[in-house]
């Protein structure tokens, strides 16, 4: 059992938790993820490692409530336990001194880019952080990102905070004003449409772009093939070959179709919770 030692509520749908998992905390690196299962009936869901504390033996996760499991998790409190928590999974981000790197985090994707930005800066890169969300209420970790990056740009889609617009606007601007040859790498993490949009922009400028794919997963160890995706015409398993890939090579249409396959069931699962008989009021 894995204890929730701290919970922070960023907004109604975005929450942070520190989970006691010393084995994971000991060896994890930026870019890797964990899989958790809340209880006996639970589904295994992947979440990126947003931060870690090797001394305390804790892993930080930040998640957005989108369905049954994330809502159930969001309803849990400090001191409660999660049944299964396995990691670190996936390959770590490739960190070296590239030069100037644009690190783009969209929505809940701000969390996973944080450790990558930190590691890149430690490796001597000029890290340009670009974070954005739909609206002010959904923005988090501006302070942490400011500390992790060399410079930080913030956007909201609706202009309720900072600059109005999208991360892609900032990428364009920087590529135009500073010159594309002065940008070594772009890393973009967030919802699929956001990553795809970033890739469309960076393709124009010929900027190498790494994305972190959120395919559906079951085991996360290369055993089931549920997470397969076509990259450069070849089938890859996101959980062991990734989760990071060259965004210009990813078959986004396939990824998004595969991600939608269980939508009906996900809806049923979410509705079921509200009729549960245990008296918990739907939190389960």
């Amino acid at each position: 059992m894995y204890k929730i030692v701290r919970k922070e509520v960023f907004s109604q749908i975005i929450k942070l938790m520190d989970i006691e998992a010393p084995k994971v905390a000991k060896s994890c690196q930026a870019g890797q993820f964990i899989i958790l299962r809340i209880d006996e009936e639970g589904e295994r869901i992947p979440l990126t490692i947003a931060d870690f504390d090797r001394e305390k033996g804790t892993i930080t996760i930040v998640f957005q409530e989108v369905g049954k499991t994330t809502e159930q998790l969001g309803a849990m409190e400090e001191g409660q336990f999660i049944q299964d928590f396995v990691g670190p999974l996936g390959e770590p981000s490739h960190i070296e001194k590239f030069g100037t790197v644009l690190v783009v985090g969209g929505g809940v994707g701000i969390a996973p880019v944080h450790p990558i930005a930190k590691a890149l800066k430690e490796a001597g890169n000029h890290v340009v952080g670009i974070i954005g969300s739909r609206t002010k209420e959904l923005l988090f970790w501006e302070d942490k990102m400011r500390a992790a990056c060399t410079e930080l740009h913030v956007t909201t889609d609706d202009g309720s905070y900072a600059r109005k617009g999208f991360g892609t606007d900032v990428i364009k601007e920087i590529a135009e004003t500073r010159g594309k040859e002065n940008i070594a790498l772009v890393i973009a993490i967030g919802p699929q449409p956001m990553m795809k949009a970033c890739c469309n922009v960076t393709r124009e400028y010929g900027l190498k772009t790494v994305v972190s794919l959120n395919a559906l997963m079951v085991d996360g160890t290369g055993m089931c093939g549920c997470c397969r995706v076509s990259v450069d015409g070849q089938t890859k398993f996101v959980c062991v070959d990734g989760p990071e890939f060259d965004g210009h090579q990813v078959d986004w249409a396939e990824l998004s179709k595969r991600g939608a396959y269980f939508r009906e069931e996900e809806q049923r699962s979410k509705e079921k919770k509200h009729t549960c008989k245990c008296g918990c009021g739907g939190g389960k």
């Binding site: 009936e41 299964d84 396995v86 085991d219 160890t221 089931c224 049923r268």
Partner: protein
């Protein structure tokens, strides 16, 4: 039967039939198909044994269970004695009694089988084991603690057997398992209706009672490498990580929605209990018509599972003819009885999808059998112009599995063959790396439960010798 022992024993020609759920009923539920012998039938079946001096049956068993002795005890109603005898060699009798391919192993060599049906060795073995599980298991003796730590990677039959034998010798064993439960394929692959998960977990609990620690949620190669485990104080390591990497056909359309590997299909159903969705959260989606590609045990399990999940039609699509089906005869028969259909001498060349990327049909080619190939099987040859379209909603690819590369990739100095299997001695399980032993599917490629257990036993014996000689 007469009372005079000298007189020749009257032969009962046929095996006592295994009671089973009616095919029409069972094809719709996940309860165990074969319901097991009663005490009376078990005694009667054991009495069929001729007690052959040469014990041919025993040579057919990969772990050499003392079959004549346990059958003799069972015939006398001494089931406690019988199970103790079995357990001298076989740590998981309730599992083996159910899933061993007995017709190719112990029962194949049974003298009775020459003219009649062989003794139902597996069935009696299963009865003895189930009875013990029901009435409480007597734990074997454990040697005094040696204070030496051994790590076992993977909790399939190879790892569990190795851990059990080492624990009995007084070693402090920790089993590291990637998934959230122990058991390997016994938990995630073989369906509930052939091997109830409660039976597997009962065996795992017994192992824990011997003092073995089982660390689930522990992916070796990720939280720690084999080398790091050894630095952390494990004096020897046994690798039994199985053959869990699913192969695909590499035909167009294989990444469409509704195309599952057999591993995903079975894992969702068995390990994650998708058949109880939405009481369990993990879903599985199944169309009206399912095609399972392949003809082995895994394919039969998938095809039978598909029916239970509500498919109207479940098809086995296999390149060769029914004679070449690699699955156990009994499994093929059960599949037929339950209504699984067979498209033999057929292989898909492409899978087609609709606008939302969901499977809707397969393009297939018809085959005929040509000359025997290296394996002695007649190889299939495509018939020109035989293309046709098979409408399907779900495709399960069950054409085999390879070893998971996670441990080989992260372990320094571990020799691997071309297929990615760990190279280990058949006699000792020793790998190219001192102190590291391996066995089971990760060495042999996909094989059987009892073979994996045999390898686990050998590994334990060698690790014991290695640690003794190191101490000396």
């Amino acid at each position: 039967m007469t009372d005079t022992p000298k007189q020749k024993k009257q032969i009962v020609p046929n095996k006592a039939p295994m009671p089973a759920q009616d095919p029409a009923v069972r094809a719709k539920n996940f309860s165990e198909v074969a319901t097991g012998y009663t005490r009376e039938t078990a005694v009667a079946e054991a009495q069929r044994c001729l007690q052959c001096k040469k014990e041919p049956c025993r040579q057919g068993c990969p772990v050499e269970v003392d079959i004549p002795s346990f059958l003799k005890m069972a015939a006398e109603g001494d089931f406690a004695g019988a199970i103790a005898k079995i357990k001298e060699k076989n740590a998981l009798p309730a599992v083996c009694g159910r899933v061993c391919p007995q017709e190719n192993q112990c029962e194949k060599y049974c003298t009775l089988g020459k003219k009649h049906e062989p003794v139902g060795i597996g069935r009696v073995e299963r009865f003895c084991a189930d009875l013990e599980l029901e009435t409480g298991v007597k734990l074997p003796e454990v040697a005094p603690p040696t204070g030496i730590k051994v790590a076992v990677v993977g909790s399939g039959p190879a790892g569990l057997t190795c851990a059990s034998d080492l624990a009995k010798l007084g070693y402090k064993v920790t089993v590291f398992e990637a998934l959230h439960v122990a058991g390997g394929v016994l938990m995630y692959g073989i369906p509930e209706f052939r091997l109830p998960k409660a039976v597997v977990q009962a065996e795992v609990q017994n192992l824990k009672k011997l003092g073995v620690d089982i660390d689930v949620n522990s992916v070796v190669g990720k939280f720690s490498t084999v080398d790091e485990l050894m630095e952390a104080g494990f004096d020897a390591v046994f690798i039994g990580t199985g053959a869990g990497l699913p192969y695909f056909m590499k035909i167009p359309g294989e990444n469409l929605c509704g195309v599952y590997s057999a591993n995903e299909f079975l894992t969702r159903t068995n390990l994650m209990k998708a058949y109880k969705f939405p009481d369990y959260d993990t879903p599985i989606k199944i169309g009206a018509k399912v095609a399972v590609l392949g003809g082995g045990n895994v394919a039969m399990d998938a095809a039978r599972t598909a029916l239970r999940l509500g498919a109207e039609e479940s098809w086995i699509v296999y390149r060769r003819s029914d004679k070449e089906l690699p699955a156990r005869h009994e499994e093929v028969e059960h599949a037929h009885e339950e209504g699984v259909k067979f498209a033999l001498l057929t292989s898909p060349t492409r899978i087609n999808g609709d606008d939302s990327g969901v499977v809707k049909s397969m393009e297939c080619l018809k085959y005929e059998l040509g000359e025997p190939d290296a394996s002695g099987r007649r190889s299939p040859v495509a018939i020109k112009g035989s293309e046709y379209i098979m409408e399907v909603d779900t495709v399960v690819v069950a054409i085999g599995q390879g070893p998971n590369p996670l441990v080989p990739r992260t372990t320094k100095g571990l020799e691997i063959n071309k297929k990615g299997n760990i190279v280990a001695s058949v006699e000792t399980g020793a790998t190219s790396k001192p102190g590291v032993y391996a066995g089971g599917d990760v060495v042999t490629g996909a094989a059987t439960v009892i073979m994996a257990m045999g390898a686990g036993k050998i590994g334990a014996r060698s690790i014991h010798e290695y640690l003794q000689s190191k101490k000396a």
